[in-house]
Symmetry: C2
Subunit: 244 residues, 2 copies
């Protein structure tokens, strides 16, 4: 199974496309929301039986982003509205059998999205024992992933914590309208710690690109909370690709 | 020369690595500094005779970033201290002969760097008529580039204008210490417009991650200007790869 180094080096690298999909879900362990992601159990060598990011070889007639979307739909039933390119991973030793360069896409999806699309697109996938959602920072899961997929997920989490505007993250994980309490849940999930609600509201008002709407959350509450919305940002078309 | 669509689609894609290198240079047209980049004239089909980004196929024993660095050194004599991954371009029709997926790296280099390294590493390259520096936004140059290299350069310029901290840009284009006037020249080059010095100083103090040093620019001036430095940022190792 293991090609020797010289042989391996001479062969053309395989080009693969993988995806990291984050969604917000309840976490019984902490009582807060946390970030979850879908993984697929490998049914072939290398790393047979281990969990891996959804992915596969570049489709000969598909763009990079369409390859990512098709594979994601086929393996997990998920159809996110957009995918963003995360990074290309190409170290020599990523796979024991052959050099693989993986171009990784990522997306944030709403909890209702992932349920709906999974149900609608491919209901039998819901019972597939080789597809499951995991907490994105579960140490046991991360330690046993195939290939360098642990590094990939940890880099995606780092990007989420350090680089992206929180207004945009909230918009993508929550939808068009959200309460400040929901935005706090997003922050708590991404940072993995509880935040003081009053301090958080004060800081958020001056920082994130979020603005009040005239709407309030409907429901049975005595005093329904106000809804906010994301005010948008400058995103290049290449950074948030629509799936064709 | 042109494979038909079906044939082309069946063949394995070629993996290439290209680089976009920006440097600040005097621009006689405007009297300000502007962004320049090195291009290499193609000596083979496709696009023979047209200018292109320095690049080549993935080295069988090299990482992605080392492939970028080796090719850059061999074609232009440039040895930047770091390279950052910009984006992977993989559309079907990028090359008329065969599908090519290009992973593009980029860097900002100091003017003295590019001269020194070119001289030291490979002095004959300085006389090579197939290597030259161009203004990064020269419409005539952009209109006649090989492949989709115009799109790549325009995306890199967009990233520079929209995404990166200016403190970091100044640090990379200017070095460890710089005056506020030099930082203004960087802004003017990136935005391609003259800025009011007094307004600029006021805004810069509150915005960019730049701090005063106790040093002043040496030279013959009556009142030498103060030197500033970049205060750093959170950069993931993957986002600024050192070349091995």
């Amino acid at each position: 199974m293991f090609a020797n180094v010289a042989e391996r080096a001479e062969r053309q690298p395989v080009l693969a496309v993988s995806t990291v999909i984050f969604s917000l879900r309840d976490d019984e362990r902490t009582g807060r929301k946390s970030l979850w992601l879908p993984l697929v159990r490998r049914t072939r060598e290398p790393f047979r039986g281990q969990w891996a990011l959804p992915g596969g070889p570049l489709g000969p007639r598909d763009s990079l982003v369409d390859t990512a979307a098709n594979n994601l739909r086929d393996t997990t039933g998920l159809v996110p509205r957009y995918l963003e390119q995360l990074y290309a991973f190409g170290d020599m030793d990523r796979s024991p059998t052959r050099r693989v360069v993986s171009i990784v896409y990522w997306a944030l999806v709403r909890e209702d999205d992932d349920h709906n699309t999974a149900t609608a697109a491919n209901s039998e996938l819901l019972d597939d024992p080789n597809v499951a959602w995991f907490r994105a920072d579960d140490p046991e899961v991360l330690a046993n992933l195939a290939f360098d997929h642990r590094d990939i997920i940890e880099y995606a989490l780092w990007r989420l914590r350090n680089k992206v505007e929180y207004g945009s993250i909230a918009h993508r994980l929550l939808g068009e309208r959200f309460t400040l309490a929901q935005v706090r849940e997003v922050y708590e999930a991404v940072l993995d710690k509880a935040l003081d609600p009053a301090n958080f509201r004060r800081q958020l008002r001056t920082a994130a690109n979020i603005e009040e709407t005239d709407e309030f959350l409907s429901g049975g509450k005595h005093r329904p909370p106000r809804l906010y919305r994301y005010t948008g940002s400058t995103t290049h078309p290449l950074e948030s690709e629509n799936i064709s």
